[in-house]
């Protein structure tokens, strides 16, 4: 069965500290992985996708198929990074995107 887990509901880091939001998935095929972000009072929006291998707002995420993980990382957290982050999986066979439960990141000034 397809499933996305995010073990941390809440994560607090100090400004300038490194941050890592964990995401693990279960899927038998080759999935597409995404990170979505929702800032306070804003709509859910795409942050990055693994096939693009891009860095957005200083965030990167590497797909580790051996560990079935897609952790989101940023070397130096900023206050404006405080938001809700959702890891999501999309099968290459179907269009359905499955979201994890989300991690609330709080960056302390």
């Amino acid at each position: 069965a397809q499933r996305v887990t995010q073990p941390e509901k809440l994560l607090s880091v100090f400004k300038g500290a490194p941050v890592e939001l964990k995401c693990n998935y279960s899927y038998s095929g080759s999935p597409e992985l995404f990170w979505y972000v929702q800032y306070s009072r804003q709509r859910l929006q795409l942050l990055l996708r693994h096939i693009s291998r891009e860095s957005i707002k200083g965030f990167t995420a590497d797909l580790n198929k051996g560990e079935t993980s897609f952790h989101l990382k940023k070397p130096f957290a900023q206050e404006e990074d405080s938001a809700m982050y959702y890891c999501a999986l999309k099968s290459t066979s179907y269009d359905k995107v499955i979201f994890g439960p989300g991690t609330s990141l709080s960056v302390i000034p």
Binding site: F34, R43, L44, L46, R49, D95, V97, F99
Partner: protein
């Protein structure tokens, strides 16, 4: 580019009443999705349309939920009758291609009392 439009933004109804939500996707986006997001959880897919056809409605509680996308553009999601556990944010999203990321609307927050 205009975003995904949803209305209303908020709705409060009593249990056993009916309610409808409306979504207008980004122009040209063939794929449209309705998600339910209960407080503290990630969004859960209810139904997916490709143009005006249903691709996946396996998680739609069909005894009370219905959705349509006439003419392959706007879509409505209806709940009849509503239950307390239907209290959630209902998100509409659209995508241009099967491999593109979604663009979400701002959602409709439903409270059933």
């Amino acid at each position: 580019e205009a975003g995904v439009a949803q209305s209303p933004r908020y709705k409060i109804i009593e249990k056993r009443q009916s309610v409808a939500f409306w979504c207008n996707p980004i122009s040209g986006h063939a794929t449209l999705y309705w998600y339910q997001q209960i407080l503290g959880q990630g969004p859960k897919l209810l139904i997916q349309f490709q143009n005006n056809g249903v691709v996946d409605d396996s998680q739609l509680p069909k005894d009370r939920f219905s959705a349509e996308r006439l003419k392959g553009v706007d879509s409505t999601l209806k709940i009849q009758p509503a239950k307390l556990e239907d209290s959630a944010v209902y998100l509409c999203a659209s995508s241009l291609t099967r491999t593109a990321g979604y663009t979400f609307g701002s959602g409709t927050r439903l409270t059933v009392v």
